[in-house]
Structure formats: structure tokens, C-alpha cells
Symmetry: C2
Subunit: 375 residues, 2 copies
Amino acid sequence: MGSMSDSSIDRRARALLSRVAEPGDRRIGRMIAERGAAATVEVIEGRAGDLDHVDRYRIRLLGADPDADLARVTEVGGRLLVPDDLEWPRQLDDLGDSAPWALWVRGTVDLRLSLLRSVALVGARAATGYGTHVASTFASDLALAGWTVVSGGAFGIDAAAHAGSLAARGITIAVLACGVDVAYPPRHAGLFERIAADGLLVSEVPPGAVPHRTRFLVRNRVIAALTRGTVVVEAALRSGSLSTAHDAERLGRSVLVVPGPVTSAMSAGVHRELRHGALAVTSAQEIIEAVGALGADLAAEMSGPSEPRDLLDLLTRRVLDGVPARGADTVEGIARAAGVTPPEAVAALGLLDLAGLVRSSAQGWALAVRTGAPG
Amino acid sequence: MGSMSDSSIDRRARALLSRVAEPGDRRIGRMIAERGAAATVEVIEGRAGDLDHVDRYRIRLLGADPDADLARVTEVGGRLLVPDDLEWPRQLDDLGDSAPWALWVRGTVDLRLSLLRSVALVGARAATGYGTHVASTFASDLALAGWTVVSGGAFGIDAAAHAGSLAARGITIAVLACGVDVAYPPRHAGLFERIAADGLLVSEVPPGAVPHRTRFLVRNRVIAALTRGTVVVEAALRSGSLSTAHDAERLGRSVLVVPGPVTSAMSAGVHRELRHGALAVTSAQEIIEAVGALGADLAAEMSGPSEPRDLLDLLTRRVLDGVPARGADTVEGIARAAGVTPPEAVAALGLLDLAGLVRSSAQGWALAVRTGAPG
């Protein structure tokens, strides 16, 4: 590994750790925060430092092959994201020690930008026709309004939400408890292919990994943390989807619920949340109203010490710098100021608009108020 | 009228005023508060004082016959209640100038005692099968728990609520916008007979009066004021039953709503209330929990300067005085102390229990904590 860059070493270490430790392992999270990923691997391998109860990790080193995992994810059109990547969603920091240290993603859209306006739609596997109808309708309407839908990969509400978003040509993201190349449940193989084509499959576990019961529960914290709010469409009193809502609440995200008939067991969990302070929503527009306001706050928090513009790729940042500090300009004027072609400027302005950094008007493109003048 | 008692004169004046003025008339309400009902009638008749725009009342004097109205209500098994009556529900004072000055009542149970634990169930005339099912189930469960149901007399939720209460042999009260001897809608003639037999028909307008559109709306404030809380079961966005909820809110009563499918227009008004702070309820038990706590406060407020015990009839008050200041006693012991027969003591203790003034335990009957020692 002598010829590898620090960045490659870090990425390979995180890939290995995703094979030897379970997602959400706070001990590993703390070690990575203190020593870095590469040093954490060295401790597990017994080459440095010491670690009690290391056996549970060490036993999994046998047969672990991060290079094969990285090759495999590339093979299925995916990549491994690590916190140093521009595409890494910073809002995961809110999970603290249990934050993911790497995400295996499959699909072509940008994860971080897709999540800037996103909402989780979750609910029961054993959903009723009412529940799946509402989930797919809301997801379509959210997609038409430019919002990304995030859910799991299960039957029922999850599948209906993805299908609704896909039908409206929206971006939909499935956060899986298995590898991004694994179809679980198997009947969702076709759905996952469509999601990978137009949206993203995301997982903390490496290619080929199978889901466990506990993996579904720890996965839920990622769905809650990635999005501005979680909407529970249907849930029985002991539904796993309520754990996503509780994670969202702990993280300060909006918890929204869709009312249903009080005679339906599949709405009983939803109504309990409602009585404990969740907000009722009856349309996609109400969801957007509820999370839009919070989202603005979140986005500000997400930026942390760095400005959102620092997270942009170089070309996009140049285009942002080409937008006048006061007033508006045409695409041609901005392209000239930035030294890029007009088509490049158009593509970059679209991303910047999605990120809330610029806005278009009759006078052309202008900086969004929150950004301030580029420096 | 020289031989009439003050009480009879007041009652007859209020009966007449219910014929010449519309319910909720604040001008009449203020005049009664200032001069009394009999003097108010004298002003309208032109025999004393002066009143601008009195014509609207005076024109109705022609043909008004309070003695005939009082005879008619007696004929159908009813009576006229006025604020001096023990049975008058004091919580109507919360309506201020628009409080009823008289109530025409038909049925045998005591209005004030029946309302001590009461809740309004209201909703759309064009209710769905879901709505009527929920209304009648909740009403039955409330009745089984000893709670009185109050509603209007319309098709849909109103009728389902009364039917559910009656089926569980509960006390149900219909507050009508027409006379208590008028079946409106006509198809509810049989239902109203059953309500008069086991519960109460209540109205501000005299026997024979027909309902107007505005009378339904002003009637709603009475439903809201009489009860500890109003539950809206189903309501479209522009439903009249929402006016009852808004009256309840203004009066500081609980506003409770039953969630339904977000796809149902008959739940759209309910969900809007939910999003504006109403509490969702999914069972009779949740209704009782919600209004029970408020009810205790209300009951305390309702008593005003006088103690609840001052409102009791003499025999019941003597039985209350026979309950020991500390500890408990048997029915026989209390009957002896009160100087009444044991059956009389049993009947009175039942009323006192309903009023929350005494409680029974394995040791016998004791004062409820809130009452304090009888003086």
C-alpha cells in the first residue's frame, strides 16, 4: 500500500471497516474520530495499539477483501462514499459516534445534492390499499415539486413511495440493509434496478452483504438523518417504521404522519404519534410546508464551519463566482465572467439552484439571499 | 296576573321572550341581565321604558301565547327551564350576553346532572359509513362509561351518535333548532321519541317553532357550552359542525377530532382542525381522558360563588350532610344520620356519585376529596 495516496488508504480502510464492523458501531465510530480509519484498521489487525474484545472484528478479517468489494461496487455502477468526498451528506454528522463511516451507493445522481430537498416516506410492509395509494400519490407530488423521496426497500409503503416518485420522473433513494447489489426482498430486483437507473441505492454494508433483523433497525437512523423530515404513512402500534420517526425526533427533524381511519390497525401507530405531538399532513404540499421551513435551518447547520459553496466542485464554484454580487445576469454573461461555456454554465446554475445558492428571475440569474456575495 | 308568584312571572316572561326574540339575541340578553325578564317584556309591550327598533319584537307579540306554549310542552311530557331552576346548567353562563334565557326540555332525566359528564359528538349530515360507524361506536362506549352524549338532530353523525348511546342504554341529549314537539327532519320522528323517552330533547325555541338556517348555527353554541368538549367525527371543509368546534374553542372547552382517510372529503375539515391544534382521538376512552381533566376544572368554575351542593334538592343535600366528614359509612348509617329511608339514601347517593361529590368504596360511602366537609 506504499504507493497509495492518503485518500485512497482512508477509503480502503473504511471499506474494510464496513466489512468487519456492524453499521452504527459506536466504538468504531469513536476510534475513527480519534485515530482515523487507517489507524483503526491497524489496531484491529493487531499491528498497532491495543483493543479489548477485538476478536469480534478480527474474526471477520479472514476473507475480508476491500479491493474486491470496491471492484464489485464499480462493476454494478456504484461507488464508495467517504466523509472527505464532496458528495458526502454532512447532515449524517448529527448521528455522532453512530454516524456511518462510509456509504456504498449505486446510481448516477449526486447524493448530497439530491438530499438538499428530501423527505423520508416510511411505513408498514403490510400496508393497506389506502396506505400504498397515499404513499405513491404523495411521492409523485413531491417528485413533481422537485423533492427527493427517501425510503427503505421493503414491500408496502416503501415500494409504493419509490414507485410514485419514479412514475413522476423524480429522484428516489432507497437506503438498504443489504448490499446495493443484493435484491432483498428478491421480488424487488426490478424495482431496485429502476431506482439505480434514476435515483440511488445506498447502504452501509458492502456488496453481497445480506440483511439481518438488527440491520433494518440501525438502517432507520440513516433514513432519518439524511432527510429534513420523516413522514409515517401507515404503521401498526409495534411497527419498525415508528423507529425511523423516533430517530428523526431525536435528531431534531420533522416527524409528520398521515391520518387514517381510526378503525384501521395499520393507522394505530400513526395516531399514537399524532397524539404525542407529530404533525398531521394530508398532502405533499403540507409536507413541503412543514419541512421547508425546518430545512432552511438544517441547511444552515449542515454547512458548519465551511460555506455550502466550499462543497461544490471547481467548475460549479467558478460559475457561482460568475454570478454578480448585486442584481442579475444572463447565462451568457455569467459564462463569460466564469470562463466556461454557456452549456456548462446552464448545468452548474441548475445544481446551484437545487442547492438554494442562486435563483432565476425575469432579469436572469442572481445570488440567493442566504449566500451573501462570493469572496 | 296579580296572583302569580315572582317565579311564575319570570318563567312566563322568558317563555314569551323565546317566542318574540331569536335565540342568542344579545340585546335581549343584556336587557334581561339588567332589568329581569318580566321588565324586558314590559318594555317590548310598550308598557314601560323605551327601546329603539322594538318593532321586530313587538310584531311577534301578536298571537304569542306563552300560557299555550307552556301547556303544550307539558302535554308532550316537557317543561320550561329557567336559570333559577335547580336543573339549569350553569355552564351556559359562559356564553355571556348570548346565553339562553330559557330552555324548552322534553324528557324525564335531570338536565344539569346528565351534563356533569357529557361530551358533544357532532359532524356532517352527509357522513360516510366510516363516520356513522365511528360516531355510533364512540357514543355506545361513552354511554357504557356513564357519559352523556350531546348532539343535534340531523341525519348522519348526529343521528348515529344518538342511536349508539340509546343502544347502550345511555343518556343522550338532542339540542334542536326547532320546537321539542317538532320532528325535523320528519324522518327522525321515531328517533326523537326514543330520545325523549330515555334522554332529553332541548331547544331555545318554543313548541311548534320551525328551524331556520340561522337557528342551526346559533344552536351550535349551546351544544358547545353545555358539554365539556366537542368531538368532530367527520366534517367537510365548509361544514357547519366546525362552527360548534370553534364555539367550543372560544368557550375554553376541549376540541377533539377523529382522524379519517386523507382521501375523504368528509375528513378534510377534521384534518384542518387537527393541523390547527385540535387533539386527535381514536376511542371513547381517549375522549374521556381528554375532557375528564378539563371537566374537573370546569366543574369548579361552574360552581361560581355557590358550592355544587347548594344546587342540590333538599333531600339530596340532607343525604350529603349525612355522609361522615372523615371515613366512610354504610347506606343504613347515612340514611339514619340524614333522617331519610335507605331507598331514598341510595337514590340520592347515586346522584351525588354522578356529581362527583361522594364515592363508594369497600368501607361504604365517603365524601369525594374535592368537596370538603359539609358545613
